[in-house]
Structure formats: C-alpha cells, structure tokens
C-alpha cells in the first residue's frame, strides 16, 4: 500500500485499509439490520442501524470534516482555495437535494405508517449490498487517486459503475416488474415507485458522472494533487448510497405487510 506524504491540507490522506475497515463495519451493520427486521421488527432498532450507517458513510466516505478545514489562504485564485469553495458548493447542493428525499421519506411514513409495501425481501437486501460494495470501491478509487495510484483508481471506478448499473437493473429491471402492484395501485404503489424512481434517477446521474470522470481520468486530466472531478463524483456517489441507507429500511424492512 502506498503511504505517500501529506498531499491535501487535511493531514495524511486516509489509507485504503481504513476504507476497508469502514466497509466491514457497514456490512456487519447491514446484516444485523436485516436480522433485526426478520426476527423482531421494531422500527427504532432499524432507525438506529440506519443512523449509525449514515453517520459512518458521512464521516469516513464523504469526509464531511474537510468542509470545516476550509482553506483560509488569502490568495483567492489558488487551486486550494477554489477547491474548498467547490466542496462547500457540493455540500450545499447535497443538503438541498436531501430535502427532496426527506420529503419523500416523511410522506412515506405519513401515508403508510407502520405498514410496508409488499416487495421482494431477497432482492432488496441484494441491491442494498450491491450499492454498499460499489460505495466501498468508489472510496477506494478516491483514496488511490490521493495516493497518486491512477490505474487502481480507474479499475475501482469501473467496478463502481458496474455495480451501480447492476443496482439499477435490480430495482428498475426486476423489482419494478415483479412488484405485485403498479404505480396506480393504492398509495403503497405510489410511494414505492416514487421513492425508488427518484433515487434511481440520482443513481443514473451518478453513473453518468462517474463515467465522464473515468474518461478524463484515462486521458490523464487528474493528478494526485488536482482531482476535484474524482472527489466530487465519488462524494456524490456516497450521497446516493447515504440516501439508500435510509430508503432501504423505509421501503423494505420497517413495519408489517397490510392485510
């Protein structure tokens, strides 16, 4: 593993091992969450799991702390200063976007309460883990870029995109077909299709964003010092995963089937 010298202003860049450890904990938590849902379906346990996972992703994968280490440099035209400004912009965007998902989330609980749509549990846990793994590789790509390991970054991004497409196939291609209700059938159909639809749209944009980044990465547009494109795409990808961390229990786990 490359232990290179300090690059960004945020001390030594996080290592690949850290990313892996975080992934392991996330995987364990997801498994536990699923077990909870199976054996004793209590909403606040699932909520606790989701919050823990969300916190981990936001801190270790989206490294929110970099926001507060904003560049205080006087030279407004320097790359570092603009980088900090761009980070701020991206986070504002995600905050604002989060309100859409928050609104959908609230609508789901307002309309369905503690019942859940009748969807395929196995598929649900599958796509969730697919997205989680893709998130791990996205982080791997960013870290290896910070360590200046371009080829590893490209490889990891390719895996990320493949998994992202798999997720889309799982949700749009399979789940939407086998779901026992259409968008017009009752409020659970409405909620399910709108929530998955809004999220899938974001996944799609993320995939496009990542592929553009790969293209430029292959052409050598990014360096260990200057790779805002990679960072932005990856953080956005983690944001999509972050949203799904809350949507998955809301759609698949919390509550009982209406009878």
């Amino acid at each position: 593993m490359v232990e290179s010298k300090s690059i960004s202003k945020t001390g030594t860049p996080p290592t690949l091992r850290l990313g892996f450890l975080v992934f392991v904990v996330l995987a364990v938590l997801t498994a536990v969450e699923f077990a909870f849902a199976l054996y004793f379906n209590i909403w606040f346990l699932l909520a606790l799991m989701a919050i823990l996972k969300g916190g981990l992703v936001m801190y270790y994968y989206m490294h929110i702390y970099k926001l507060f280490e904003a560049e205080k440099d006087e030279n407004r035209e320097s790359f570092a200063y603009k980088l900090a400004t761009n980070r701020l912009g991206l986070w504002f965007f995600m905050l604002s976007d989060g309100f859409i998902f928050g609104g959908l989330f609230i609508s789901r609980f307002n309309l369905l309460g503690l019942t859940r749509p009748d969807v395929n549990q196995l598929l649900g846990v599958t796509v969730t883990s697919v997205l989680l793994v893709s998130s791990f590789f996205a982080n791997r790509a960013e870290v290896s870029m910070e360590h200046g390991n371009r080829n590893q970054a490209i490889a990891s991004l390719v895996v990320t995109i493949t998994l992202g497409v798999l997720f889309l196939v799982g949700v749009l291609g399979v789940e939407w077909r086998i779901a026992p209700f259409g968008p017009g059938d009752g409020v659970q159909g409405a909620i399910f299709y709108s929530m998955t639809g809004f999220h899938a749209f974001h996944v799609l944009t993320g995939v496009i964003f990542l592929s553009i980044v790969i293209r430029n990465l292959v052409r050598g547009r990014y360096s260990a010092e200057k790779h805002w494109g990679v960072e932005a795409a990856v953080v956005y990808w983690h944001f999509i995963d972050f949203v799904w961390i809350f949507f998955y229990p809301a759609l698949y786990l919390i509550g009982t089937l209406p009878h």
Binding site: L18, L21, F40
Partner: protein, 194 residues
C-alpha cells in the same frame, strides 16, 4: 485516523449488541396475546356431534390438545374457506408442534352440511381437520353456548376462531380476519408458558 476508527467501530458494535440484548429482554418480559383474552379461562361447553366419517365426535375427546374451534358452513364462499386456510397456515407455522393443535369445524347449516359435504370441504385444506355436524336440534344448543347467531342458510354474524386449551378452557378468541402469524405466535407463547 485508523486508530480512532477502531475505537469508533468497537463502540458501534457494543451499542448494537446492547440494543439487541435489551430488545430481546424487553420482548421476553412482556409478551401479549394477539387474540382477545378470555379472563378467567372459562370451561368450554362440551358437545357431541357427528364427524365427517359419520362417527360421533366429542369436544372432550381432544383434552390435552389445543383446539381451534370454528363455526361455518360448507357452501360459504369467503369467510369460512378463508378462515380454514388461515388455520392451515397456522399449523404449518407451528412446525413440529402442529401435532398439539386440533382444528375443529362445527357446521352451521344442518341442511347443507352433511357429513360427506363437510368431509369434502375440509379435505380441501388439511386431512387432520375435524368436522362436526348434526341435526338442527343437535346443533342449536352448541351454537347458543358459543354465542353464535345463525341465520337461515348457515350465515353467521360472529365468525370467530375459539382457542381452547388442553384443560378444556376457552382462552382466546380471534376475530376474522386474523393472520396465521398472530395465532401461531399466541400458541407458541402458550407452549412456552407450560
């Protein structure tokens, strides 16, 4: 940063384990029945009727077993078959303890519910289901003692499942529709209580 994360990870796992333990304890300590509890358990009125194979059948034959008692009629289209299906699922959910549970179907339409009609009706669900029918004169007191109001044609207004414990006491009743999961959970609880 990794060192710090090790602490974070351990803390999270500890929290999760604690939450799990707490939940299990909570669930163990106050489990409630899903059905509506009859308190105190009151002795279920015994009766003698004819089963689908023409033999006499007594409620008290099944002492030592949990009895799921239901009043219905064979040419009924929704509630009775639905309830039978629910009870079938319930026994499946119970797995190897299913043997301790006996489903008993009491006819409400003496005209239509001849023994073989009952037999065919029950055979659609589960061979172990026991039917009980008879003449109007025989049936009426049974209905009365279980508060079943029968209209002509066997239509009942009160389609419950009655749960009778091995001692022959009414313990719980289930309104229609109750899910197999609910009934099975209650039975599991009763098994554990013994």
């Amino acid at each position: 940063m990794e060192k710090k994360f090790l602490w974070v990870g351990t803390a999270i796992l500890a929290l999760v384990i604690f939450a799990t333990a707490a939940t299990i304890f909570y669930l163990r300590s106050n489990r409630a029945f899903n059905g509506s509890v009859i308190n105190p358990p009151s002795p279920a009125a015994d009766f003698t009727l004819t089963n689908q194979s023409g033999q006499p059948v007594k409620l008290s034959d099944y002492r030592g077993k949990y009895i799921l008692l239901f009043f219905g009629y064979t040419h009924c289209i929704n509630e009775c078959p639905a309830t039978m299906a629910i009870l079938m699922k319930t026994r499946l959910l119970l797995g190897d303890r299913a043997g301790d549970v006996q489903v008993l179907f009491v006819a409400t339409d003496p005209a239509g519910d001849t023994p073989q009609a009952v037999g065919e009706f029950l055979a659609r669900f589960d061979p172990t289901f026991m039917g009980a029918t008879g003449t109007l004169a025989e049936l009426q007191p049974v209905w009365a003692s279980y508060g079943v109001t029968v209209e002509d044609g066997g239509e009942t207004h009160s389609s419950y499942v009655y749960l009778i414990d091995p001692a022959g006491n009414l313990r719980l009743t289930y309104p229609y529709p109750s899910t197999p999961e609910q009934i099975a959970a209650d039975l599991q609880l009763l098994f554990r209580r013994k």
